[in-house]
Subunit: 152 residues, 4 copies
Amino acid sequence: MSEQEERNGGVRESFARQGLMRHLGARLKDLAEGRCEIEVPYREELTQQHGYFHAGVTAAIADSACGYAAYTLMAATDSVLTVEYKINLVAPAEGERLVARARVVRSGKTLKVCTADVFGVKGGKESLCATTLSTIMALAGRKDGRAAPKKA
Amino acid sequence: MSEQEERNGGVRESFARQGLMRHLGARLKDLAEGRCEIEVPYREELTQQHGYFHAGVTAAIADSACGYAAYTLMAATDSVLTVEYKINLVAPAEGERLVARARVVRSGKTLKVCTADVFGVKGGKESLCATTLSTIMALAGRKDGRAAPKKA
Amino acid sequence: MSEQEERNGGVRESFARQGLMRHLGARLKDLAEGRCEIEVPYREELTQQHGYFHAGVTAAIADSACGYAAYTLMAATDSVLTVEYKINLVAPAEGERLVARARVVRSGKTLKVCTADVFGVKGGKESLCATTLSTIMALAGRKDGRAAPKKA
Amino acid sequence: MSEQEERNGGVRESFARQGLMRHLGARLKDLAEGRCEIEVPYREELTQQHGYFHAGVTAAIADSACGYAAYTLMAATDSVLTVEYKINLVAPAEGERLVARARVVRSGKTLKVCTADVFGVKGGKESLCATTLSTIMALAGRKDGRAAPKKA
């Protein structure tokens, strides 16, 4: 198993431990060096007051996608932590599902700057509903498990 | 019923329509002119990979609290929309529950700038886990119901 | 003169009225529908404590570039206003000059969401030093002149 | 000389090396543990197209104030670096001068989260024109001088 495959395995294992992603019904779709895609199908449980996807869902999958895109560029012994992000909600998040596509814009030793676009998919047609810019931190030597600390 | 009571009723009704808030188990705790408090008890379904509250939960209640704090200052005929927000996750979100407290920093005619602090509550002791800065928009003459459009 | 040329003329006139852009030595390089490029040559007057370009310069040209990129998509009778922006400073801003390239990501009626990348140029080679995400507002019917109000 | 006085001396020395702060006419007014205040008098050279202070000036003094507020909590051997910030421009920046007041919200080992409010002062009366939220980084063992590297 290559180092990249091992890291990707670590990402999938970490994703599986996120109770919220399961609770939302989110799925890790795609994973590559510095990239990650997460999607979530529509359900009444995920709505805001007008019946669209709630911004909390949009933000949650964008954030997780950024975190895991960054994680693909870290050492297997690192833990990953979102320092902060900004999100612009540019259109109603509607459709059969939402898909968040994240990529690393700049990979520093400690900090990775990432961006994600989130699309609503309706009848196979995607339209942009949000865009994010975020800062992700690598915590060296703290393997990404349940007992790991995560204070910056 | 005063105009403020009517608006607060509108906020509670709008909150009740948010499928996600129900799915997360979030509760609207407090509501006053330009202020809103939302809390959510801990559950395994709300965790990230280390067992803390997922940032998606933290962000979702902070965003809803900002939106409704702003909504208390809008006309009853307006609809409310989050334009964008930024969140800094300053410490692990841990405890029996999370509480988000939002207030309007600046109330313009169209745009309201809000801030929210989110605290983890552990044995009655609160500690700051996140802080947000957000821009909320009033959509004039589009009552906040299921059919309302929300494009800026 | 086409409507687009007229608007571009309005942008150049507005830029020329910005005392700060002149004071920094910034130049409007390129302008197209939904796009704008501004650059500024290096001077000791623009530095931070380590001798690189100060983040204030980086942010100022990125912000102006976003504002004018958005302005190209507004009516000639509108005024332009930055609601907010976020900037990530991803590397030292060094070189003979800085160049900010902005584009409109989403053009709503009232709000335009823009992004800008800022590059340091050293011996003709560009390297990314900052990236921004911003919200720009059109103020309808308030021509962009010295007496215009700009409160959101 | 106490350790705090030594650190404050380091801040003043670092500020004095910022060519841009001098070029804008900005002054370091106040400095305390986790707090910093910077002000700048009005000049035609600092304006945007409507004659108010340019957002670039507002942002520059807010950013420097946050950086130095954070720097007061770092070791004398550390260097300081702005990772990112977000600014909301809530009202026209007008008056005889602008004043930025920053404080550290959360002081982690590597990262400090800061906030700054910027006020326009007109006839002695202050009014809020901007608010920021930022992430500042301590670079351990890289004294804050002209030769120091600053890549995250």
